[in-house]
């Protein structure tokens, strides 16, 4: 591992500790919900990283269809998998937050439903990549990724377009929206920390995908040599 990568991992771990301290200790307690509102500092950054990963997956999939390079395909696979990990966190922490606040674990409102659909789309994408065989797998998964990405802006806009149980946007949501400056500060630290974790995971998964591709082509070469003998 390169020294710069190690430095970045150490920086991210320190940042995670600091941002969690900001979320649990420094940020003031919200008046209506109490301490449970602090789930916000993990829930929203996870959603942000998931959206970012799916955007990278979209760009890499378009690039793959244009250039057919194995590197962009590896990036598409890596970003989709990490996106699903963070989307899973969103789908679990959301109901845990909802239960004490709304009195229910789940409701089929637009935000929750579109997020679940998003998760299902990218899980299908990963299943396709894992189990489909043949030369067209990468092309098919790139096409699925491009269509699947359509759901990301729908998830984002759902709380603006529809009346939902899920709260309206906290930032940029009109007159009564906004956060206490100390809460905002804690939120941005967590956003930065989660983004760094996302970058590390995508980079590690990308590297792994390239190694797996190398092994696969080496196996194919050996098989060819064996067949030629």
């Amino acid at each position: 591992m390169k020294p710069l990568s190690i430095l970045f991992i150490v920086f991210t771990l320190a940042l995670l500790g600091f941002s969690t301290y900001q979320a649990l200790v420094v940020a003031p307690t919200e008046q209506t919900m109490g301490d449970v509102q602090r789930i916000f500092y993990y829930h929203v950054p996870s959603a942000w990283v998931a959206g970012l990963c799916f955007f990278v997956n979209f760009l890499a999939s378009v690039a793959y269809l244009v250039k057919r390079g194995s590197n962009v395909d590896a990036l598409a696979a890596a970003s989709a998998e990490v996106g699903v990990v963070f989307c899973t966190i969103v789908l679990i922490t959301g109901p845990i937050w909802a239960r004490p606040v709304w009195g229910i674990w789940w409701t089929w409102d637009a935000r929750l439903t579109t997020t679940l659909v998003l998760w299902l789309i990218y899980v299908s994408y990963l299943i396709l990549r894992r189990f489909a065989s043949g030369s067209q797998t990468q092309v098919l998964s790139a096409v699925l990724a491009i269509f699947g990405f359509v759901d990301v802006p729908i998830v984002y806009m759902s709380i603006r377009w529809f009346r939902t149980q899920h709260p309206s946007p906290v930032m940029g949501g009109g007159e009564n929206s906004g956060l206490d400056p100390v809460m905002l500060h804690a939120f941005f630290w967590n956003l930065l920390a989660f983004t760094c974790v996302g970058i590390i995971l995508v980079a590690a998964r990308y590297h792994l995908q390239k190694m797996e591709n190398q092994v696969e082509s080496a196996h194919a070469q050996l098989a060819l040599q064996g067949g030629a003998r």
Partner: protein
């Protein structure tokens, strides 16, 4: 589920999923590395 329990559960779930994924990646790394070594030996 009360507020403090929900808060602890949400933070724990986040860490468990992230660390679980890191462990899964490390396991795959180990497997690929071993496969690479085997390939080098056989070629």
């Amino acid at each position: 589920m009360t507020g403090p329990v929900a808060l602890k559960a949400a933070y724990a779930v986040t860490w468990i999923i992230e660390l679980g994924y890191v462990r899964y990646l490390l396991g795959r790394y180990r497997r690929v590395r071993n496969e690479m070594k085997d390939l080098k030996r056989s070629s």
